[in-house]
Symmetry: C2
Subunit: 140 residues, 2 copies
Amino acid sequence: MPATVTFRLGTLGALVTERFTAKLADLDLKPKHVGVLTVLAGGPPTSQQELAGLMGVAPSLIVSLADHLESIGAIARTRDPGDRRRMVLTLTPPGRKLLAKCAGLARDLDAELTGSLSADQRDQLAGALGHLAAENGLPT
Amino acid sequence: MPATVTFRLGTLGALVTERFTAKLADLDLKPKHVGVLTVLAGGPPTSQQELAGLMGVAPSLIVSLADHLESIGAIARTRDPGDRRRMVLTLTPPGRKLLAKCAGLARDLDAELTGSLSADQRDQLAGALGHLAAENGLPT
DNA sequence: TATTGTTATACTCTATAACTATA
DNA sequence: TATAGTTATAGAGTATAACAATA
């Protein structure tokens, strides 16, 4: 078992998520909040339903994630004039800065994790993970 | 964010765990049960407290995991004669067979995940993940 | 008194289902 | 009637705390 990619990605993923969660605590964010910010930064303004689909979570979860991000000024919620049922979410300038901070924390953790790898190994790891992410519909 | 190893390991880890969980459902197991079997297969018989320490979970969780594994005959629980407070867990022969089935499912998932990678890329990925796992005290 | 296993309880995360408003 | 968002409720997973047996 331990030699499988399945086992290694599962256990390392849990470890990394736990450590990233700890780093985010100061910013009053959880990993899923960062997921929302990341999706909003990567494309056009998005409705909550679209976001739920892209992230693979229930629409009701987007409500509470967006509630929090709106309360700290990281996103704006505006009603779509063309379809007043839809709430359009956009990243605010402070939200962009917040996301940049999160990315900085992620890079810090990257350095802690991969510090003992050679430059070649780091590149190979990033390349393979990027390939798997793209192939499975994860953000690029 | 998406380019960081942190983000990629976190999201891919969640994806892989979800898919592995689905494959395990037929065997009436969850990933943590496989974790217990894996630790028991990799070393000497182990007390529940030791197991909790090795897996990084609460001792009370080991109770329910071991209850289930014992009920399906995959492990045996015997009281340590030298210290009657301790329960020593050992993998039974059927437990070994069950673990082998789990490993087969993990290899199936490995093939699905890495099928589009070149042989070199697969080796590089496995090498880098193995390095990270070892460095962070995960099973090898 | 300290430790092992167990049980009781509570907390976090998230989904499902019911509800409101728009379409 | 169908859909977007919201709210209410429920379930899974796991930890913490209290407890029993043994040291």
